[in-house]
């Protein structure tokens, strides 16, 4: 804040609130900002949103390495250390030649973990695959109703996105223009993504004895595999065959039903 000009009517910028959150405002500004936030509902709402966001950021996990991590790292580090002559001095040949190892990149693990965990939770509770509405709360270790609601909102948001993508993909394939050969590059990539989470979903359903859901997911998986493994351009006969499978299995309807259940629960949650 410039020249301590904050008054009760001058709203702080987002940047000023961020600095305030981290205790980086000037000392005089801190008190003025606090007073303003207490007296201004609009700024109080933004402040609460900022605090909630940064509190959520703290929840981001780092996978804890196993007990042998330190030994494993030492086994990697020791051979790469320069010889005694070079300690603290210019790098030895081995050190100069040591590049970062570049590997074939993998997908974001956290995203996969989220989907897998969501799948496990939903399947374990037997919610998806039934025709009745989703139950009002998600089993949770959260201590307060607000925490439980926040957790359920996270769960439902992720599920909603996942099933909406599945539905969109199927509809796109059903409506793809059919003339000679059909370009399905984007659909292939999407199917590949959905295949990963779908397999997790099915495996967990099987583990939890939810036969009906597992069967439905297997049907969906067969179609996803077909799309993901298809050539860049699909000929008319293959596309017709794929569409017939989607239609015969009522896949669009089944995925849409799941999406509706989730959306219904989200609406209920928003009004509670």
């Amino acid at each position: 804040m410039k020249d301590h000009e904050m008054t009760s009517t001058l709203h702080p910028t987002e940047d000023e609130l961020i600095l305030h959150f981290y205790g980086e405002s000037q000392r005089d500004d801190e008190a003025v900002l606090d007073a303003h936030i207490r007296s201004c509902p609009a700024c109080a709402a933004i402040w609460a949103d900022l605090c909630d966001t940064l509190k959520l950021t703290d929840s981001a996990r780092v996978p804890e390495p196993d007990e042998a991590f330190e030994q494993k790292m030492w086994a990697r580090i020791q051979p790469a250390l320069p010889t005694e002559d070079h300690v603290g001095g210019s790098p030895g040949i081995a050190a100069r030649l040591l590049p970062f190892r570049v590997r074939t990149p993998l997908r974001v693990a956290a995203g996969i973990a989220a989907v897998a965990a969501i799948v496990a939770l939903v399947v374990a509770s037997g919610r998806v695959g039934r025709t009745d509405r989703l139950p009002p709360t998600v089993a949770s270790t959260a201590s307060t109703p607000a925490d439980r609601a926040a957790r359920e909102r996270v769960l439902l948001t992720a599920l909603d996105e996942h099933f909406q993508r599945s539905e969109l993909l199927l509809v796109e394939v059903m409506n793809a223009e059919q003339s000679g050969t059909t370009e399905l590059g984007f659909e292939r990539q999407t199917a590949d993504d959905l295949l990963v989470s779908g397999r997790l979903y099915r495996a967990t359903a099987q583990q939890n004895g939810n036969v009906r859901l597992a069967q439905m997911l297997e049907e969906l998986e067969l179609v996803l595999v077909e799309i993901a493994r298809s050539p860049d351009r699909m000929d008319q006969r293959d596309l017709s065959s794929l569409r017939a499978r989607i239609e015969n299995d009522d896949l669009v309807f089944k995925v849409r039903a799941l999406t509706k259940q989730i959306e219904g629960r989200q609406k209920t949650l928003a009004t509670e």
């Binding site: 987002e14 909630d52 929840s59 996978p63 001095g89 074939t104 993998l106 270790t141 948001t157 993504d193």
Partner: protein
């Protein structure tokens, strides 16, 4: 003897070529460097590479370490810079997943604490995506401020930035976080 003194003693021995002393430092600090490296890179394998490179660089620079300084802080500084270099050198991610990875992730999610995994996993994914949309330097500035509690002044020193540049890196990161996590936060916004 407190940890700072123990570290200083180990550094003194390691400077003389005592690798066993350096091993103690690796055992004491590799886990915390791994955590910062994971937040920077988003992948276990990459984080381990950064840990390795951090300690190799630290070993080469032991003569520059001042005995009165905090070894952990000094090492963090090297770790962040290694992670920045690593991210700049790393090719962009592929979007497909291997079956092996799939099985590992599937197996990890069996058990009674699945609700916690859902919550933390979803947030982790969104936070990581938001972080990946930042430049390595911006990412480092935000992580140092938010997770390590470093002051703007310290961030400037470690990353060789001017005050305004460090602040703006943090502002950009927080804005990205707000966008990424907005569906999960119920408060109204301006």
């Amino acid at each position: 003897m407190d940890q700072m003194s123990e570290d200083a003693a180990a550094v003194a021995r390691a400077r003389g070529g005592d690798q066993e002393a350096f091993r103690l430092l690796v055992e004491r600090h590799s886990r915390s460097i791994y955590r910062l490296a994971y937040r920077m890179t988003g992948r276990v394998e990459d984080a381990e590479d950064v840990v390795q490179e951090t300690f190799v660089r630290a070993y080469r620079q032991l003569s520059r370490f001042e005995a009165r300084s905090n070894f952990a802080t000094w090492l963090y500084r090297i770790g962040f810079n290694c992670a920045i270099d690593y991210l700049r050198a790393r090719p962009r991610r592929e979007s497909s997943e291997t079956d092996d990875k799939l099985e590992i992730m599937s197996g990890q999610n069996r058990g009674p604490s699945v609700d916690d995994l859902v919550y933390a996993g979803e947030i982790s994914g969104r936070v990581q995506n938001a972080l990946e949309s930042l430049s390595p330097q911006e990412r480092a500035a935000f992580l140092m401020r938010h997770y390590q509690g470093c002051s703007i002044e310290e961030i400037c020193r470690v990353l060789d930035l001017r005050t305004n540049a460090a602040k703006h890196s943090i502002f950009r990161a927080v804005r990205k976080m707000r966008i990424a996590l907005r569906p999960l936060v119920s408060q109204p916004t301006r």
